[in-house]
């Protein structure tokens, strides 16, 4: 465990990071950069982001506080926080390998074997090995515990049959974290699940791209037909799949393993929409002079400021005493719904030009706002719909009875 750094050390490191991002950050490569790892649709975007993550990692500003022996920087987590702050300051592009570094990595560091750590960690940090996630299935999107993909032990292999859906980067990933059913006679649906780290590029695994409501691609459905993987792929032991899956979610909230740093999803920049409003004209006047628009825009500013400050308040136990789980649990709901509402509202500024879409020269910001609004549903639906989130907050933060 690296010991607490001195203010001087931190300052020095921070200045180095600041200088590096100032020099190396490319904000406009000439094509639209995805706001989240779920929105990568073209090769151009993919290659750019993969290179970018490698570059940041090699510069020592990503994975800085992960163990040195597995490719991390081995520094105290304060250093990574400072580096991430610099990243944000220059509005740097996202880190691409979200499932790898955000989900699989912490799990492996926490519970994996020495061999697994050696094999996986470094290459996921460098974005050499891209990871994807196989939890959801077509027939029960929200009901993960009900996963039906079959994994049957056969000698020192497992035979996989079934299908997974909403796999981001599924057609590009080298590995997948997979939730599969190894026991169909288990006492309850959760007990029958097991967790696997599997290779994607093997016989019996095919993917087909899913066209999003935006008209673009980004997710795939993955089909397993007698796909054989080594029994070593099993992680955490048979029947422990559910608890492994739950753990990945906990890591996402920063539990136990030091955060890898960076961000896989971009904060929405409020000034962007304020600019849009200022530059939009109605009846010859800037739209932001329209009091009705001002009022709505002001409410959004209040909401955005609250959600941003909530992230600071979460780290202040003295202001989290009554319902400690409240802020952490509500964050996804509040943030994703706000982005949906805000991007939808942005269309109201565009007058007749709201009729245009990505690809038309007359479209405002090349259709950025329409695309962002339509894409915002990936966050209000994916990773547990907002309706599910309300159940979670109601039951786990407020102690309300479960909905049956």
């Amino acid at each position: 465990m690296a010991e607490k750094p001195s203010p001087a050390e931190l300052k020095e490191f921070g200045e180095a990071a600041d200088a590096w991002f100032k020099e190396n950050t490319v904000r406009d490569p000439g094509f639209m950069l995805p706001l989240t790892f779920m929105e990568v649709s073209t090769d151009q975007q993919y290659d750019f982001l993969r290179d970018w993550q490698r570059k940041v990692y090699e510069a020592g500003f990503f994975g800085a506080s992960w163990p040195k022996e597995y490719g991390g920087g081995g520094l105290h987590s304060e250093f990574q926080r400072v580096a991430t702050r610099a990243m944000k300051k220059y509005d740097a592009p996202i880190m691409l390998n979200a499932i790898g570094n955000g989900w699989a990595g912490p799990l492996i560091l926490d519970l994996g074997s020495e061999e697994q750590k050696q094999k996986y960690i470094k290459n996921m940090l460098s974005a050499e090995d891209i990871w994807c996630q196989g939890f959801s299935e077509p027939e029960h999107g929200s009901d993960l515990g009900n996963a039906q993909l079959k994994a049957v032990r056969d000698g020192d292999e497992y035979v996989l049959n079934g299908s997974k859906i909403w796999t981001s980067l599924g057609d590009r990933a080298k590995y997948m974290i997979l939730l599969a059913r190894t026991d169909f006679n288990a006492p309850n649906k959760y007990a029958g699940l097991s967790f696997f780290l599997i290779p994607m590029k093997i016989d019996g695994i095919t993917t087909s791209r899913i066209k999003k409501l935006t008209g673009e691609y980004g997710f795939v459905q993955t089909f397993f037909t007698d796909a054989r993987v080594s029994a070593d792929c099993l992680f955490g032991g048979e029947g422990n799949g559910w608890s492994m899956a739950v753990k990945t979610l906990e890591y996402e909230r920063g539990a136990k393993v030091k955060p890898v740093g960076g961000y896989f999803v971009k904060e929405l920049d409020v000034m962007q929409i304020v600019e849009l409003a200022k530059n939009s004209v109605r009846n010859g006047k800037p739209l932001l002079d329209d009091p009705v628009m001002r009022d709505k825009m002001t409410q959004f500013m209040i909401d955005i400021q609250a959600i941003n400050l909530n992230n600071t308040r979460r780290r202040m136990p003295q202001l989290m005493q009554d319902r400690p789980m409240g802020l952490p649990l509500m964050n996804k709901l509040a943030r994703t719904e706000l982005i949906r509402e805000l991007t939808e509202f942005s269309l109201a500024f565009q007058g007749t030009k709201a009729g245009y879409y990505v690809g038309d020269e007359n479209a405002i910001d090349d259709g950025y706002w329409h695309r962002s609004y339509l894409n915002s549903f990936s966050a209000t639906i994916g990773g547990g719909t907002s309706e599910i989130q309300r159940n979670i907050v109601g039951e786990h933060a407020l102690g309300l009875p479960k909905t049956r």
């Binding site: 909403w166 999003k212 409501l213 009846n283 709201a354 549903f377 990936s378």
Partner: protein
């Protein structure tokens, strides 16, 4: 308030409602709608022919111009059922063009074009420009009159179905005053029309470059009819789009209900969850209010004062309801809702486009406030 309208129907209106309900349902199944998304023209010429034969383009045209001699009130049920079935054709733009001719055209101009339209010729309007303003008076495109010829210049945006149109009625400024010019598409130069990428994949629109287009002076509406023409276009467009959006709202709510009745999660039909049921009910309530407004607007069509209030109320309510219902439909379809295969997005996109054409709910309310409170 004496400018609040009432509600009522005409026999012809109800007959047309029944006919249109069946016709649009039969001729525009979702597979066909989806096939047309990729189609250049964007609609089925055969269906367009039948629409012409049904006389739907002649409804609001006077009998002396081969029309049926009814009013916009009877156009409403047709637009509603077209919107309900995502049957997008030049019906709206053509009907609007006829209204423009009736409001601003000379007898000769009416005599020349209205019979053609009644017989099924496609027509459209070229109004919007790059400033994105919903105020039809705020335009830059201009015309220079030189003796008998007027030379036009500037760019028009969102000219719907222009590639099929025989007639395009464009607004331009001549000597600072707004005029409407009748342009025959055949007279356009190569490349004057550029297909635009728009949010509503069921519709088609074009950018029209007027530079160099020449029309003869008698292809202009009288200057003193411009104001009346603008008002008529605004009202007629508001009414047609409101009816389409109202039908669309009904469709997307029904589509959502179907899913809520069949989809299972956690071993339960998801429609039994109040988190999905109650917002759907609220959307349905708003839809019924929208439909009431739409038929009230149809009934009040032509009544001084009341007409505009009723139309704008219908447009405001229909747009907010359609937008909200389609937004919730995407959400309530879960993962499938996020795919292009889910029809919810077709409606959500159309709601955005229709709002862009006539002004969204907030814009309609801002206009209403003046009519109601000042």
């Amino acid at each position: 308030m004496d400018n609040l309208g009432t509600i009522g129907t005409t026999e012809e209106q109800i007959e047309l409602l029944d006919v249109a309900t069946n016709f649009c349902r039969d001729k525009s199944p979702i597979e066909k709608v989806r096939a047309l998304l990729e189609d250049d023209l964007g609609y089925d010429p055969q269906v367009w022919k039948e629409i012409g034969e049904l006389g739907w383009l002649a409804i609001a045209i006077p009998e002396n111009y081969d029309g049926v001699g009814l009013s916009m009130a009877e156009v409403v049920p047709i637009a509603e059922q077209m919107g309900r079935n995502l049957m997008n054709t030049p019906f709206g733009s053509t009907t609007l063009a006829a209204q423009a001719l009736l409001a601003g055209g000379s007898e000769e101009q009416q005599a020349r074009w209205l019979p053609k339209i009644a017989a099924g010729s496609v027509a459209t309007l070229a109004l919007s420009e790059d400033n994105g303003d919903w105020d039809l008076g705020n335009i830059e495109c201009s015309g220079k009159q030189d003796g008998d010829t007027v030379t036009l210049s500037g760019k028009k945006q969102l000219v719907r179905w222009a590639d099929s149109a025989e007639l395009i009625i464009a607004s331009v400024k001549i000597d600072g005053t707004i005029r409407f010019a009748l342009i025959e598409r055949s007279a356009l130069a190569e490349g004057a029309l550029r297909r635009e990428s728009i949010i509503d994949e069921t519709s088609r629109s074009f950018e029209l470059t007027l530079d160099g287009v020449k029309v003869s002076a008698d292809a202009l509406f009288d200057a003193d009819r411009s104001r009346e023409t603008i008002e008529r276009i605004e009202l007629a467009a508001g009414l047609i789009q409101a009816a389409e959006m109202c039908g669309g709202a009904q469709a997307v709510i029904d589509y959502t209900i179907e899913y809520l009745k069949t989809r299972k999660q956690f071993d339960k039909i998801i429609g039994s969850y109040q988190a999905l049921k109650h917002p759907t009910v609220d959307n349905y309530v708003e839809y019924e209010k929208a439909r009431t407004h739409v038929y009230s607007a149809a009934h009040s069509w032509g009544e001084q004062g009341r007409g505009e209030v009723a139309v704008r109320m219908a447009a405001a309510q229909a747009h907010s309801t359609y937008s909200r219902a389609a937004d919730r439909s995407i959400q309530f379809h879960g993962g499938f809702g996020f795919t292009h295969d889910c029809d919810a997005q077709l409606h959500r996109r159309k709601a955005i486009f229709d709002g862009a054409l006539i002004g969204d709910a907030a814009y309609q309310r801002s206009k209403l406030a003046g009519l109601l409170f000042d």
